[in-house]
């Protein structure tokens, strides 16, 4: 297959534009579901990852930013994390373009890269702006660790770090499951969809 030329314009096809609201809503619902099931994770980047996997970094970044803008209206704490979600979308999108999701071990590698990037980009915001406590469930655990005497950065990476990795693992697994079930004729319509087609054995 010849190398595809990517540009911002070709990324934002009609289908991609329609995927953004779905991504935002999935982020929202994922977060709600996580709190209904009382899971200690945010699970609010599933839609961003999904949009980035199928349509590239810029669509993923817009999905992430829009999610935080809309959720920030109800809870302004989320405005501060807009850059984190944008970076998550960009990183996943660029990895997807490079075909980093074709084999299972590449999935795991990309997952870890993405988790690390998220932790590193959210750490400064949580620590410097909120003193380690944003009012969410996981940050309360961080707070407990701090109260017990741990240094603020150590407390953060120890608690939020682990939960973020779990969070991303679950998010990526969900995206992988959905990719498996989407019919090929739909996948091909997305800018990067063809990377995920199941290779059937060729008969000559």
């Amino acid at each position: 297959m010849e190398k595809k030329k990517y540009s911002i314009k070709t990324d934002f096809t009609m289908l991609a534009i329609l995927l953004i609201p779905i991504g935002v809503a999935v982020n929202f619902v994922g977060g709600q579901l996580a709190s209904i099931l009382k899971l200690p994770m945010y699970l609010d980047t599933i839609g961003t990852i999904f949009a980035a996997l199928l349509c590239g970094p810029w669509v993923g970044a817009v999905t992430g930013a829009l999610t935080n803008v809309l959720t920030g209206i109800a809870n302004p704490v989320n405005f501060a994390f807009i850059p984190v979600n944008i970076i998550a979308g960009l990183v996943t999108g660029f990895l997807a373009r490079k075909g980093m999701f074709s084999i299972w071990w590449k999935w795991i590698l990309s997952m870890l890269i993405m988790a690390a990037v998220s932790i590193i980009s959210s750490a400064p915001i949580v620590v410097l702006v909120f003193g380690g406590v944003t009012g969410s469930g996981t940050s309360l655990i961080t707070a407990a660790a701090m109260a017990a005497g741990a240094n603020i950065w150590a407390a953060f990476f120890g608690t939020e770090g682990i939960f973020t990795v779990l969070d991303r693992v679950i998010s990526f697994v969900i995206c992988w499951m959905v990719m498996k079930v989407i019919p090929a004729r739909t996948l091909v319509k997305f800018p990067i969809g063809s990377n995920y087609l199941h290779k059937k054995s060729q008969t000559k």
Binding site: M14, Q32, I46, G135, I174
Partner: protein, 269 residues
């Protein structure tokens, strides 16, 4: 019959504050937010607390009463208030630094804790509160129309509005999917592993259904000329309530007065 349909989809608000043109409301939100940040720089008392944010919050219920949306707004504010309360409590008891103000057993309140508790929780309350007012007095249709009128690319306005709609739609879908899966035997209560496993059968059908549906939506939008680069006509008209000028002038005056007050106060110290 055509005229009746067009009339039916219009929104006419009797309350003149609630019926303000959305850009005037947007201006009020902006002025309030800027004022909130200005008031946040007044560090009062020896402990340098941002006390002015507290009375400033009460402007919001007053605004809601004038707009006639108090009941609905208070319901929406409850969620915001919960978040704010958690932030307040967490910051209060867990941030060390400065004198110890109060201690009981292992619970201690430090000056830094009190300072950042008041600052963060009321900042959240104020900013989220004014947006609650905005969203309670403006429907999605009006917001969408106002965004297009203000010059935004119609595709961007569409994405914004569609996101708000999708959040409602997928939210409802997720509840019915979860109930259906529960009926099929998926366990949603129990230890962490069981609950985490319940996540997948709830979310995967949701995303799948949304994606398949979006294929059809592309066709629908194209059939209605969505991608055509030409002047768009609108069925939905926005009302001006007549009080736009006074509202904008009043907001500007209040914000400027606060700014001037801050500068003077800073000079006097």
């Amino acid at each position: 019959m055509e005229n009746n349909y067009i009339e039916k989809i219009q929104i006419h608000r009797k309350n003149r504050i609630a019926g303000l043109y959305p850009s005037a409301k947007g201006f009020i939100v902006l002025a309030y937010s800027i004022s909130t940040f200005i008031l946040g720089t007044f560090h009062l008392t020896d402990m340098r607390l941002d006390l002015l944010l507290i009375p400033w919050f009460f402007v919001i219920p007053v605004l809601c009463i004038i707009s006639g949306v108090l009941a609905k707004s208070m319901k929406a504010m409850k969620a915001v208030a919960t978040v704010s309360a958690i932030i307040f409590a967490a910051q209060l008891f867990l941030i060390p630094g400065g004198k110890v103000l109060w201690s009981f057993g292992f619970l201690k309140i430090y000056v830094y804790g009190l300072r950042s508790a008041i600052r963060l929780s009321f900042l959240v309350l104020d900013v989220a509160g004014i947006f609650v007012w905005l969203f309670q007095t403006t429907s999605n249709k009006e917001l969408s129309r106002a965004m297009e009128d203000s010059g935004m690319n119609y595709k961007a306005a569409y994405v914004f509005m569609s996101s708000l709609q999708m959040i409602d739609i997928l939210g409802k879908n997720s509840k019915s999917i979860m109930n259906a899966q529960r009926a099929r035997g998926v366990e949603t209560e129990g230890n962490l592993i069981i609950r985490a496993k319940a996540f997948f059968p709830s979310l995967v059908p949701l995303i799948l259904g949304a994606i398949i549906g979006s294929e059809e939506r592309v066709l629908t939008l194209e059939a209605r000329g969505f991608s055509m680069q030409c002047q768009k006509t609108h069925l939905f008209k926005l009302d001006h309530s007549g009080l736009e000028k006074p509202a904008v002038i009043l907001s500007t005056l209040i914000t400027s007065a606060l700014l001037a007050g801050r500068v003077i106060w800073g000079i006097m110290r």
